[in-house]
Amino acid sequence: MPADLDVLIIGGGSNGTGLCRDLAKRGARVLLCEKGDLARGATGGSSGMIHGGPRYLLNDVETTKHSCEDSGYIQRIVPHLLFRIPFLTPVEKKPGLGVLGPLLHDVYFGVYDRYAALKNGIPHARLTTAEMRAIEPGLAGDFAGGVTLDEWGIDCGRLCLLNAKDAIAHGATVMTYTEVVGLLQDQSGRVSGARLRSAGAAEVREVKARVVVNCGGPWAEKIAGLAGGGVRLRPGKGVHLIYEKRLTNFAVITSAVDGRQVFVLPYQNETWIGTTDDDYYGDLDDVHATQDEVRYLKEAITRILPGIAQQRLIGARVGVRNTIFGWGKNEDELSRRYDIVDHTRLGAPGLFSLLGGKLASFRVQAAETADAVCGALGIPGRCETHLHKLPGGDSMPDEAELARAYGVDRLAVRRLIHRHGSLAPRVLDVGRETPTGFSVVCAGEPTLECEVRHAVRHELVVRLGDLMTRCRIGVGACQGVDCGLRAAQIFAEERGLDPEDEREALMDLLSRRWRAARPVLTGLQLAEAELLMTQYTGLWQLPALVPHA
């Protein structure tokens, strides 16, 4: 346990890890505690885009501008994690609107273009219906034309990891599966540290820090409550459906039955359909998609892309937005602005809360929070997180050359470079240690054995399920039937686990998968689930054939 801390950060999402990096680079002594794995809450459930969000233009222009600006910086510091997502908005014919429909969209996105340059976006283009159908043949409906725009996707799991890794390189400590169960306060109410408990442990430890920053995302209200409260969120549950592979050329925007915006998003090797946005009053630690939400999204999308109904749905991602409280508005009209609260005025000096915000502007949110914290601590220096690359972001290795040098398939190398950037050769070097080092662990991705070993050794992996966000183990079509077993084996080898612990490790991965798969367990997924259960309960007795009655 590090002593003599300047700052304790609570939460390992994009805000918490971004802040941790910023403060560590300024020389502060920082500890970050996350009760689960990195990038699990609002960050993990997000659409994974660093965009301005044209939908915020109507009532939240500042958010659009901020996000576009910071998106540009994020692209510069971590280019390998990014991928372009071209969007298409088909404009449906509406009675009485005629050519006005596309024109209105044209003007609207014309406004957006002014911000788009900040994030290296290509200006929008207006398309005729014929042009639109040529680039996206699956579209069904009566259209007056369409408009394209350009956004960027990012691997947010790895973004948080790289923030954390860079922070560690600058002296910070990052502890996952460590929950803050209480805050230390003196007579005057000043917050001077926290009580921590590791997952599964009974013992509670105390850690002292001059300042505590609450980056708890949707849990921020609860964390602030440990020191008397005073902040308020209006958490919004968001569901994405995940289809097995890329189903469209473009991301397509349309509207749902209630008129809210819904999109199809080709994302990495998958297709996401999202998102719902509903006030959430339930248990933040037990969020799952409901049948209604699944139907709402399916209905909205199959209306304009009917072919998707035949495709294989492999899961539903769920997250809860950390939206700042507002009264009297619908969920999708709430501002995505952020707020840095100094709890001095709430009677708890030494505590700060970073509330709200967007993934696309996590860096500037972190920078402003770090300014406030450093101001309070008297730490000089300023934000440099936009000037220096995140690990692996400095250059892109040559795909063909690496494939040749290590005798690995080019596609696997391409995916490896996407995740590791200039550090890809270091990951490949691990492959030379074992005869099967370059074999494919997850065929759907494809992920190599060496990458799994590297992640287990160097990427803050505590549980097997953490590999889902490190190198996409268990997230694809096989649901872990294939790759889970192999990954568990590698994990056990690296950690020296006995068979019982290895089975438990695999259960962790499968249980996480199950939360996502359960609400959509139909079609071919059901066959996969039957196979998975037969294999693991049957041939490995996980967990030793649970008694029935």
Binding site: T290, Q291, V294, P435, T436, S439, V481, L485, R486, Q489, A492, D498, P499, E500, E502, M507, L510, S511, R513, W514, R518, P519, L521, T522, G523, L526, A527, A529, E530, L531, L532, M533, T534, Q535, Y536, T537, G538, L539, W540, Q541, L542, P543, A544, L545, V546, P547, H548, A549
Partner: protein, 431 residues
Amino acid sequence: MYDVLVIGTGMAGCIAALEARRLGAKVAVASRSWGATALSSGALDIAYTPALSRAHQMPRTLAEHVLDIIAHRRRHPYAVLGVERTIANVEKGFAALAKALAPSELNPRPLDFEAENVSLPSSLGALLPAASALAPHVGLDLVAPVKGTIGVLQLPGLWSFDARRVTAGVRHDAAALGVEATGLEVVPVSYDAAVSAPVLARRLDDLANVDVLARALAGKGKGFVALLAPPVLGLDRHAWVRQRLSVALGAPLVETLAHTPSVPGMRLQRALDRAVRAAGIDGVGDVAAVAIASGKVTGVTTVDQLEINAGAFVLATGRFVAGGVGWGERPKESLFDLPIASEEGPLEADGPDAVLRETPMESHPLMTAGITVNSALAPMREGRVAHANLFAAGMVIGGFASRYVLCADGVAMATGVEAGRNAALAAGAAS
């Protein structure tokens, strides 16, 4: 025109077809592709009720397990058939299977209802209770005390078989059963096997490749009473391969049971396919549509637009893996649109959530979903026989999941024999 058309050629469909043929019917089988049988482990599961066995803390015979199943699961096919018919049919089906597998040298360990299940090691290191198993996996019951040490072969590159995991897992499971496990030791073999299990198995059907492996194994068996091998030693010529390698080792060689993709499952399916052909049963391809007139099934149309007519039909299309039962917009049986029920009762169309539990490895009612049948194994719709000349066999029948009680092969045998006979009788073809 056939007397009987069996739809599905897994274990249940093949046994039904062979039984109808044995009774003198002219039989055809329709098949889409391989299903759960081809993914099976090499064990033959007849009856094992883990919860009850653990609760009772005492050994139980196979017959007692059948009784337990019937007493506790009223929708289980064994309960539908009743205990006497279940045991008689399993014995009959098992005999038919043994005969069908003999030419492929897969002869299963003899069945004995008065004996306990044996414990066989799986490729994942668990000790699995099984009533019987195919020949390559028989010979080492690791719970029964064996004097001496057993070697576990590790082929480098064959990651799907981890000898370390197998030895540690067997030790652990044996200890959990309160048995002192036999000594086990990993035996590394220098043979480059960096391919998948099915590819390696096919490769080892070739003499030249077996010779290379035999040289790598020469003398390695010294000091071991037996050796446990990954379930990859040959696909069609497995008996010959095992024999040859055993000679090189100087010790007996037994394969573990397999996880997917399973070479033992492939061997079994290939042997069944051959037996069906050898019995003079035609194969007609995949069924695209069924024709029904005045309450009876009259024929089917295959995907190649062939029209096949028959006097009676057996539905043996399997469950989710094989596609006999599915859930698109609602749960359904895929050929006749028969209603689906789990062991808890009819399924609602709302969504799978209601019939699934919180964590993956619990007993999910959805995993027991299938059609409902009467005691003659005729599929039911709204309390009545759906079609007078249609009978069902195997996992398309609901009321059980193969892994909550280990019984899938027994169900295939018991229902396969019954459905095959009833179809032959309904077609007026039984002699």
